[in-house]
Amino acid sequence: MQNILEVKNLTVNFNNEKVIDNLSFNLKKGENLVVVGPNGAGKTVLLRTLIGMIPFEGEIKWEKDVKIGYVPQKILPEKNIPLSIEEFFNFKKIDSNQIVKALKSVGINDLSVLKKKIGVISSGQLQRILIAWSLIGNPEILLFDEPLSGIDIEGEETIYNLLSRIEKERDLTIILITHDLSVVYKFADSVLCLNKESICYGPPQEALTPERLSQLYGGEIKLYKHVHH
């Protein structure tokens, strides 16, 4: 299968300090890569470097003309920023049918949300809106940066169930940053443990050993392996 992304010897410096050190990995089309690591390990920096926001050394090779969707950890809105969610979607120059479709695919059926200001909705709902927004235009790969704090989940479906469903429906490739190790087993084809440098990389069952994890998080960590049914 074809590689959608190849990263070779990637190094990122902030003020002469290495934030990402000599990182290499590949991602095949349709694969899911989950990135785990402690706070400040460079996970968000990695995603922002991949989309071209941060200068780097080494090589980042995307498949030609690849369409990227990005769900950032947070966006700026102050509470009273005068921008409705409908207008936020209209930045993408689409018709209202497409907006409705995108909202439905992330489990939002109540369209009154479109009239609300983007700064006043709950963080869980904002997460869904951002996913819907990123899916418009049919990206081939989705970069998803999970918020630090657990987000409030509305309804039955968790964000991960949602992502699994979307991934199957749309044949997406996903790079997901998470703090939730249980997600790795449910979701990942491969896992990348990042703490500035790559601590482990490979299929989760092989790569995520207790030794690697304690090396990654610098101490004891309890790991619950989720048994697949």
């Binding site: 989309i51 005068p82 209209n90």
Partner: protein, 259 residues
């Protein structure tokens, strides 16, 4: 009231410039550049001084200096990674000092608080054409800059060249500040850009309302300011800003009592 051609020229110029300044201000406020308009007004001062000294058009002189200032800020921002605010701050005080040195004493007041009572037919026509042009450009760049101000990451993923749009944006600000210094002067142009937007922001539920009311407050402030000046015979520029601030205060009070 006896309406002369001169009075009509002033009124029409102020309506166009005030309206567009208001719209542009709404964008500056979302970009958290509230004080940039203010600072740029000061950057214009040496240009105004020079124009007055040489008997040239005030807006033209202002525009040349604004252009130089804006390009310098844009360039330094890319090269030094300092916040725009810091750079603007430095250039702003430098210009102010130069402006005071250059501007002839008798004309200093006009440079600082504006004098719209002398605009010619040519000035008025130019103001109308340039205002409409700027409005057209704002309309084009607004969504891109708004998106970038919410999240530069999202804008970049959507292939928006943020740096290019920032430059266009700074250029249209220069045009409006150059036109506006004639109406309210270099000291007060910042207020004409920011206060209408600040008032509109208090109650706007979305971007469309926000832009519309920012522009309308700009227009109303200029109209009432000029009419008021006709009645009580005080300087137009400061009166326009007073009316502006009154709108802001009323919006704030209505919002408080409404809650």
């Amino acid at each position: 009231m006896f309406i002369t051609n001169q009075f009509l020229f002033s009124l029409i110029t102020a309506i166009f410039v005030g309206g567009v300044a208001g719209c542009l201000g709404s964008l500056m406020l979302t970009k958290r550049m509230a004080l940039v308009g203010d600072a740029l007004g000061h950057v214009a001062l040496p240009g105004i001084g020079l124009a007055l000294l040489l008997g040239l058009n005030v807006s033209l002189g202002a525009f040349v200096f604004l252009l130089a200032g804006v390009l310098l800020i844009w360039f330094l921002e890319k090269k030094t990674f300092l916040p725009t605010e810091t750079l603007v701050g430095v250039i702003f005080v430098l210009s102010l000092a130069l402006g005071f040195l250059i501007t002839p004493q008798p004309e200093l007041l006009e440079a600082l608080i504006g004098d719209i009572s002398k605009v010619s037919l040519l000035d008025t026509t130019l103001s109308i054409i340039l205002s409409i042009f700027v409005l057209y450009v704002i309309n084009k760049i607004y969504p891109k800059i708004m998106l970038a101000s919410i999240s530069e990451d999202l804008a970049t993923v959507n292939r928006i060249n943020i740096s290019r749009y920032n430059l266009i944006y700074l250029l249209v600000i220069s045009v409006i500040v150059a036109l506006g210094v004639k109406v309210v002067g270099s000291l007060l142009i910042g207020a004409l850009v920011i206060i209408p937007a600040a008032a509109s922001r208090i109650f706007s539920a979305n971007m469309r309302q926000y832009i519309f009311w920012s522009g309308l407050f700009g227009v109303f402030s200029c109209v009432f300011g000029i009419l008021l000046s006709g009645v009580i015979k005080l300087a137009v520029g400061p009166l326009i800003i007073l009316v502006c601030t009154l709108f802001f205060a009323v919006c704030l009070i209505l919002k408080k009592t409404h809650n």
